[in-house]
Symmetry: C2
């Protein structure tokens, strides 16, 4: 009896940003596993089982999902955003690598989703219109020295930089550290945008500069975008300011 | 009379990867503008006008869309993937910056979508599970020296690297140049994956190494993913190989 495990990206929040393929994968599942706030976005269908777990239990959740699928069940593991970006898909393959037998009779799929930086960028304008990088500031699973090195090289490369997990209660000061690293390379006038809770009722967008960035509100629900040297804030004839990075670039 | 311009991401190809918000924006439009192959994915509704244009005419298309919206129409400009990633959203804001009056009475929105690297990554496993960057290899709008610099610094930062627009008829050799730049920094055993026409009938995935990468098929419809030093190809108990980048990292 062959089971199925689909790692599903639910997008940044609202149902209108969940792809039909992702919605179908959830609807078809016998069991849906995930971090509780992601499950809370969904309604179990009759006969469907929801298993919530904590944010720090990704590898256990992945192994549990593989076990259930190995029993012949159709299983969905849900992530916010895209499951491949700082999320559950890597945990599932880590579990398979640690214990290959977990994949016995299990058909694994990954369903992509709209990752947070794309939704944040859409609200702000087109800041990711040119070469960019994405860095998680969480040092739960990597040394801070590596994060610093990547920030410095990304600044030297003049990438637009998207920072995931910029702050948490346990590490409120790292985002300030990150701005210091970036400020050693980039102009204080570099555009920085804070996109908080994009797609939710309490969504807020703040556009500022690298010099002023340390004063902005930044928490677990914030995505931070740091512009390249070409990124600019413009005002058309409306009140709204837009941030975008032109498609063309000089230098090198 | 106030018009509306929505820049819409159609995802990598199949309808099941178009978000409901993107589908609604297209359905609600009086006029839909885009590069012909993207329009070909959609069916005009009665009374709806489709205006196709060529790939190189992004700025003209953006200006035309703003003019139509300024006349009070509801206008959608469609891109493949996400409109903010090497696509139409930046062109629209460039047009607004060049001629702010174009925004008069126009309400601009950007609707995010699943960008190519997320769909490619999902097919391959979870290669973007850790810090990554996205670089367009097209030198239509930027000097090759800048592309080289970014490739070198991205390799030094040990990012996973997604290459958009890796080759075209006009520049078949640049991807080989890119592999040479990366090979100066990265191990020849670095995982490289070629994801071609993801989501289409002729989809193909090839996983190889940096040493062997120059021999792989690579064209305009290919997304190339270069692993970090931690990216690995694994075999579970099934035949299928998976490529993933662990959530944890050492070094720095």
């Amino acid at each position: 009896m062959s089971g199925e495990l689909t790692v599903v990206g639910l997008g940044p929040g609202p149902a209108e940003w969940i792809t039909p393929a992702a919605a179908d994968a959830v609807a078809a599942a016998d069991v849906v596993l995930g971090y509780a706030p992601y499950l809370a976005r969904l309604s179990p269908k009759p006969g469907q089982i929801f298993e919530a777990s904590d944010n720090r239990e990704e590898l256990d959740r992945a192994a549990r999902a593989l076990v259930l699928a190995g029993e012949g069940k159709r299983v969905a593991v849900v992530s916010g955003g895209d499951p491949g970006v700082f999320a559950m898909a890597a945990a599932v393959f880590e579990a398979v690598e640690k214990k290959p037998a977990l994949e016995n009779g299990v058909d694994i799929h990954v369903e992509p989703g709209v990752t947070a930086m794309l939704a944040a960028a859409a609200r702000i304008g087109a800041p990711l219109g040119h070469d960019f990088c994405a860095i998680s500031l969480s040092d739960n699973l990597k040394p801070w020295s590596l994060i610093e090195k990547r920030l410095r090289l990304a600044a030297e490369a003049d990438f637009v930089i998207a920072l995931y997990n910029p702050a948490s209660k346990a590490r409120p000061d790292q985002i300030g550290e990150a701005f210091r690293v970036l400020s050693a390379v980039r102009s204080p006038q570099t555009i920085v945008a804070f996109a908080r809770a994009v797609g939710r009722a309490d969504e807020s967008i703040e556009v500022t500069t690298l010099a002023e960035a340390p004063n902005a509100l930044c928490d677990m629900r914030t995505l931070v975008l740091i512009g390249s040297s070409a990124t600019r804030a413009i005002h058309g004839n409306n009140e709204r300011a837009w941030v975008y990075t032109p498609r063309s670039a000089r230098g090198g």
